[in-house]
Amino acid sequence: MRDRVAAVVGVAVVVALIVIFPLIVTDPAATSIGVFTLVFMVSASAWNIFSGYSGYLALGHAVFFGSGGYAVALAARDWHVTGGWAVFGLLPFGGLVAGLIAIPVGLVALRTRRHTFVVVTIAIFFIFQLAATNLGFTGGTSGILLPIAPFSAANFNQPFYYVAFGILIATVLVSIGVRRSRFGLQLLAIRDDEDRALGLGVKTRRLKLSAFVISAVPIGMVGGLYFYFVGQIFPQFAFDPLFDLSIALMAFLGGLGTITGPLLGAAVLESLQQYLTQTFSSSATYLIAYGVLFLAVILVLPRGVIPGIAELLERRRARSASGPGPAAERESQVAGVAGAAR
């Protein structure tokens, strides 16, 4: 009971902090980092609904990010939507397009498993990138301009920030809903042993496809938001292999298959990444810093930050519970058991 109260208070404090952040910090550089961070929190969380729960490592979700972005950009251009709140109304359309695209992509990619699946998602990603570059209606390499948002310069970032936060709340609620449902349990069963799950009557194919489509929709929506914020969309930016790997890394860093893990991973990594890009003007320094940090985290906490820290706390609790005398011995036992369990 005390844990539950603590959790509710904790969530309330974090939500309140996110809500008041742009009201306290008015520096546009900081609030734009906030927008980018929220976009990636949505993306990592949505990606986790499919890849984290089912164990299928998809490295092609930039397809949905880019498709959502292009859907919103094209809709705004062809339906003559003027800048302002109306463009935010197109975001569900971006999500819908991403979800529709996810159906054939999922049908093809989910015929394969494990590393073959990873590579097929990468290949499909490149097909989309090439198509966006070469097809006529996407504007080719020069891309499409989105309507200019008419918000005042001082508070320009705030609408984007709060809309992204709204999408984030919806995504997290979906993630929690999936995780707690029978559907989520069946996805976890697929992750642990797909053939056995199939043998026990789990309709694996239908489930995997549903999760794949569900994970695509929020990414399509924030894709639209992202490119409206940036003001322009072109292929290299919309279909960026770094996006695929970044969201996977964020989820891994925080803890794959957990609800809070991808959120924490994205919050830490994306804000750090944006901060490093703003601090180091040279992309080389930024790349090296990012790569080294990434390596260090994987090697020190290979199971992700949240499970890793939970494990450390568990050990500490075991040590303090066992009294001062045989503590060291007890600890080594626990460590041994933890090691064996790996």
Binding site: R113, T116, V120, L130, S282, P302, R342
Partner: protein
């Protein structure tokens, strides 16, 4: 498109396919022995190209003699990466974790190369880079012939090493069953380290030929790795023969489409062919269906 153009495209595809086969063979060897996917293979090819570039431009050592230096350097890099990072991955999820670890290595390589050389495109130069031989009505660029020749020789050496030597037997044993190999006295860790070293060493040659036939910058590795992965998966992971066949198959398709339709759409057909084949045969052309069982 005339018939001669078609034949020329097929010949070009076979010659470039040989070089891709060599780079992909390194990747598939690492996968076969370690169960690891080396995403950094593309970045390492580009690193190899830059090494050749430094040797030829700043030290006046030609591209071919330079290989005597670049091959051991890349071998050492492979050994270092295996020792520092790959070895630490735990058995469960190691394939997936390896993608992240080696991707981080690729980012670091890209960052270091950007810091030293900037993002300008470069190309390797030598007397044989722009000349060509006119044979049987085809124009065969010398560098393609040299690259193809080197690839064939090295693949032959690799094949001989794997199937006719004691070390090769140890590699294949570790590939089939780690525990059993351990039990009969094979130092599996050593075998793995050396295999990764060899798998990375071939990128020195691949990088030299790639750098002479394409312009490159530190970012080029990503395009390359996606192609190499496509080849390796299509051939069946862990199968060197499969990688060779798939490399030639995909590059012939690529070059024929480039001539027959348009060079901009050629890579799309390349990836579409991959997706199509894998939808029918998820284990690749020559792979065993082990990928499904696990």
């Amino acid at each position: 498109m005339s018939f001669t153009e078609l034949l020329q495209a097929i010949v070009d595809g076979i010659l470039t396919g040989g070089v891709y086969a060599l780079m992909a063979a390194g990747l598939t060897l690492i996968f076969g022995v370690m169960d690891l996917i080396n995403i950094a293979q593309g970045a390492m090819v580009i690193l190899g190209a830059y090494l050749s570039y430094v040797l030829s431009v700043h030290l006046g050592i030609g591209l071919l003699p330079g290989l005597i230096i670049t091959i051991p350097v890349m071998f050492a890099l492979g050994v270092a990466v295996e020792f520092c990072f790959m070895r630490r991955l735990r058995d469960r999820d190691r394939t997936q974790m390896s993608i992240l670890v080696t991707y981080a290595v690729a980012i670091v390589i890209e960052g270091v190369l950007t810091a030293i050389f900037g993002v300008d495109f470069r190309q390797l130069q030598a007397s044989y880079v722009n000349s060509s031989v006119h044979m049987l009505g085809f124009y065969l660029p010398d560098i393609y012939l040299i690259g193809f020749g080197l690839a064939v020789i090295l693949l032959a050496v690799l094949y001989y090493g794997l199937y006719r030597t004691k070390f090769g037997r140890a590699v294949r044993a570790s590939l089939q069953n780690r525990t059993a190999a351990d039990l009969i006295g094979i130092d599996v860790n050593r075998v793995r380290t050396i295999s990764v070293g060899i798998g990375v060493a071939v990128t020195a040659v691949g990088g030299m030929v790639f750098g002479a036939t394409n312009s490159f910058n530190p970012n080029t590795g990503y395009d390359l790795i996606s192609r190499l992965l496509a080849i390796v998966i299509l051939g069946g992971m862990g199968s060197i023969g499969g990688a060779m066949a798939a490399a030639v198959f995909l590059l012939v398709i690529n070059d024929v489409v480039a001539v027959a339709w348009s060079p901009t759409w050629a890579p799309l057909v390349y990836f579409a062919a991959l997706v199509l084949v894998l939808s029918i045969r998820p284990q690749g052309l020559f792979g065993k269906s082990a990928a499904r069982a696990q």
